[in-house]
C-alpha cells in the first residue's frame, strides 16, 4: 500500500486509521481549514476520519480494514 505515494506495509487486521497513524501523525485534513486530523471517536460516530484514496473513493478510516495496494492520501502538503 502507499500513504501519500510512499510505499509502506501494514498488518492484516489493521484499520486504515491504525495503518496510517502507526507511521505518522496526520490521518486526514479538516474540510475548511485543512488542519491536520487523526480520528477522534474511533467507533464510527464522529465521522472525522474519512480518508481519500487515489482513485477518488473515500473510506471511514476507523471502521475500514486496510487492503493490499490501497493508495491512501492524508491531504498533507509535500
Amino acid at each position: 500500500m502507499t500513504i501519500d505515494g510512499r510505499p509502506c506495509n501494514a498488518l492484516e487486521g489493521d484499520t486504515v486509521l491504525t495503518a496510517i497513524l502507526t507511521q505518522g501523525t496526520r490521518l486526514c485534513s479538516a474540510d475548511a481549514t485543512g488542519a491536520p486530523r487523526a480520528g477522534f471517536c474511533l467507533m464510527g460516530a464522529c465521522q472525522d476520519c474519512w480518508v481519500m484514496m487515489a482513485d477518488g473513493r473515500r473510506v471511514r478510516a476507523c471502521t475500514t480494514l486496510v487492503q493490499p495496494d490501497m493508495e491512501l492520501l492524508t491531504g498533507a502538503t509535500p
Binding site: 492484516e12 487486521g13 496526520r26 474540510d31 491536520p36 474511533l42 460516530a45
Partner: protein, 473 residues
C-alpha cells in the same frame, strides 16, 4: 422484504434481545453496523488479530466470553447481518446499506439497541492529532492492540476515565495524569447508591488503587484550559480551584460519561422527555422497553445510560415486551425478575451520576476561539454572535442559522456543547434550549448508493404503503 422482529445493534442489549426472541421460537433479523457482534463494550478484534479474552476484556473477560459465545451458538437461528448501516426509518421499515448496496427492511416489531458514544465538551485545541475520546483510546487497545502515547493524559469524568487509564497502565503506557472534572467529594456522595452493586464498586476502587500505587497524579475538579501543539498535541493546560499547570504529553483521552445514540428512535417518531437527573433529552421508554410508538422498543444505553450489565437486562426485557404485544406467550416470572434487576441497576446509576460531572461553568469558561463543531469548524464565538444577532432561543433554530449539528457527525460530538453555549448565551435552561432533531441519513451515505436506490423499482412508491407492501420479498 419484511421481517417480524428486527433488532438494530449487536451489543449486550441487542444480543440478549435476540436470545429471547430465538428462545420464543422466532427468527429475528439483527442489523449490526460493525463487522463482528459485541457492540463497543465487548467489541471483537478483526479475525486476523488473535488475542486472549483476558487481554481484551480484563476483569469482564468471563462475562464477555459467555455472552459472545451464547450469541455465536444462536447464530443458526438468527438472520445476522453485520456491516449493515441503518440510515433512515420510514413508517414500518428501515433503509439499509450493506457493502455499498441499498436495501429496505420492513418490520412488525423493532428493537433499537443503538448504544452510546462519549459525551464530549470541547476545549481549545481539542481537534489536534493525538486527542481522542476515552472510548476511542479504549477501542485502539481492544480492537487494534495499539495504544496512543507514549505519554498520555486522561481527562473528563465517569467510570470510563479510570477504567481506560488502568488499561493503558497495564500495557506499560506512561499515564502522566488523570484530570477528573468531578470534585473529590463526589465519590462520597455516590457511595451509598453505588453500594447497590458491591462487585462493580469494588472493581472501580481497584482501578483507582492501582493507578495511585503506580504514582499517577489524580486532580479533581479539573477544567481543561487548552491543548498545545502544532501538528499534534504536545501539552495540556488545566486548572482547578486550588492549582493548575501545563502537562507535557503525546496524547489525551477525554470524555464526560456517555450520551445515548437516539437518532433512529427520533426518526421512528418516539416522543422525548427531558431527564432532569442527566440534564439530557431522552426518548420516553417504560421499564419494559416500550417506547411511545407502537411496535418500537428501546433497549440498552441508547435508551438512557445505565451501563452494559443493565443493557443485557433491558435487551431481554424489550424482547419479552415485543413478543407479548405480538400475541406470543412470554415468561412472566422472567419478566418480573428482569424488572427487579433493572431497579438495582437504576439505583447504582443514580450514584454514578455524581461521578459523571461536566465542568462547572463550562459555557462561560469556553473562549470564543474554541472550535465546537469538528466537521465544519464552527467556533464558540461564531455561535455566540449568531445567538446575539438572531435572537435564537432553541437549538434547531441555531442549527439552521449556523449549521451547528448539520455536519457529517449530525451533532453527535457537538450537541452537548451547542445546547450549553446556547443556554449560557440566552440564560435559558438546557431543557428550554432543546435537542437537535435527528435527520436522515443519520450517517454519511454515498450519493452513488442513493442513486442506485432511486433506480430500483421500490423507490417510486415509497410513500404509498400499499404499493410498497406489494414489493416486499
Amino acid at each position: 422484504m419484511t421481517a417480524s422482529y428486527v433488532v438494530v445493534g449487536a451489543g449486550p442489549a441487542g444480543m440478549r434481545a435476540a436470545e429471547q426472541l430465538v428462545l420464543a421460537g422466532v427468527r429475528p433479523v439483527v442489523l449490526d453496523e460493525a463487522a463482528r457482534f459485541g457492540g463497543q463494550i465487548y467489541r471483537q478484534p478483526p479475525t486476523a488479530l488473535h488475542r486472549p479474552a483476558r487481554d481484551l476484556y480484563g476483569l469482564e473477560a468471563r462475562k464477555a466470553t459467555g455472552l459472545l459465545s451464547r450469541f455465536a451458538e444462536m447464530l443458526p437461528h438468527i438472520d445476522y447481518r453485520p456491516d449493515t448501516l441503518v440510515w433512515q426509518h420510514d413508517p414500518g421499515s428501515l433503509q439499509l446499506i450493506h457493502q455499498a448496496q441499498p436495501g429496505e427492511l420492513g418490520y412488525d416489531a423493532l428493537i433499537l439497541a443503538t448504544g452510546a458514544t462519549d459525551r464530549v465538551l470541547p476545549f481549545p485545541g481539542w481537534t489536534l492529532p493525538g486527542i481522542t475520546t476515552l472510548g476511542g483510546a479504549q477501542v485502539a487497545l481492544k480492537f487494534q492492540a495499539c495504544t496512543f502515547g507514549p505519554r498520555v493524559v486522561f481527562a473528563g469524568s465517569g467510570p470510563l476515565l479510570y477504567l481506560v487509564a488502568y488499561q493503558y497502565l497495564c500495557q506499560g503506557v506512561k499515564v502522566v495524569a488523570i484530570l477528573d472534572a468531578a470534585d473529590r467529594s463526589a465519590a462520597w456522595q455516590a457511595l451509598p447508591a453505588m453500594a447497590a452493586r458491591p462487585a462493580m464498586l469494588a472493581k472501580g476502587a481497584w482501578y483507582v488503587a492501582r493507578l495511585r500505587a503506580a504514582g499517577v497524579p489524580i486532580h479533581h475538579g479539573a477544567r481543561l484550559v487548552r491543548a498545545h501543539g502544532s501538528d499534534r498535541v504536545s501539552a495540556l493546560e488545566w486548572r482547578n480551584a486550588s492549582s493548575g499547570g501545563t502537562i507535557d504529553c503525546d496524547a489525551v483521552g477525554f470524555g464526560y460519561g456517555l450520551r445515548p445514540e437516539t437518532q433512529l428512535a427520533d426518526l421512528a417518531g418516539c416522543q422525548f422527555a427531558f431527564d432532569a437527573n442527566t440534564q439530557t433529552w431522552l426518548p420516553e421508554v417504560d421499564p419494559t422497553g416500550r417506547s411511545s410508538v407502537r411496535g418500537v422498543y428501546l433497549a440498552g444505553d441508547g435508551a438512557g445510560i445505565l451501563g452494559a450489565d443493565a443493557a443485557e437486562v433491558r435487551g431481554a426485557r424489550a424482547a419479552l415486551a415485543a413478543l407479548e404485544d405480538m400475541g406470543r406467550p412470554c415468561s412472566q416470572p422472567l419478566a418480573r425478575r428482569l424488572d427487579d434487576q433493572l431497579k438495582v441497576h437504576q439505583r447504582f446509576r443514580d450514584g454514578m451520576e455524581a461521578l459523571t460531572a461536566t465542568p462547572a461553568n463550562w459555557a462561560a469558561d469556553t473562549p470564543d476561539d474554541t472550535v465546537v463543531c469538528r466537521c465544519e469548524e464552527i467556533t464558540a464565538g461564531e455561535l455566540r454572535v449568531c445567538v446575539q444577532d438572531s435572537g435564537a432561543r432553541e437549538v434547531n433554530r441555531l442549527k439552521a442559522l449556523s449549521r451547528i449539528g448539520m455536519g457529517r457527525c449530525q451533532g453527535r460530538m457537538c450537541a452537548p456543547a451547542a445546547t450549553r453555549l446556547l443556554a449560557g448565551a440566552t440564560g435559558c435552561t438546557l431543557e428550554e434550549a432543546g435537542r437537535l432533531r435527528g435527520q436522515a441519513p443519520i450517517k454519511p451515505v454515498p450519493v452513488a448508493v442513493l442513486g442506485r436506490l432511486a433506480q430500483t423499482p421500490s423507490a417510486a412508491p415509497l410513500d404509498d404503503p400499499e404499493a410498497a407492501g406489494a414489493l416486499d420479498d
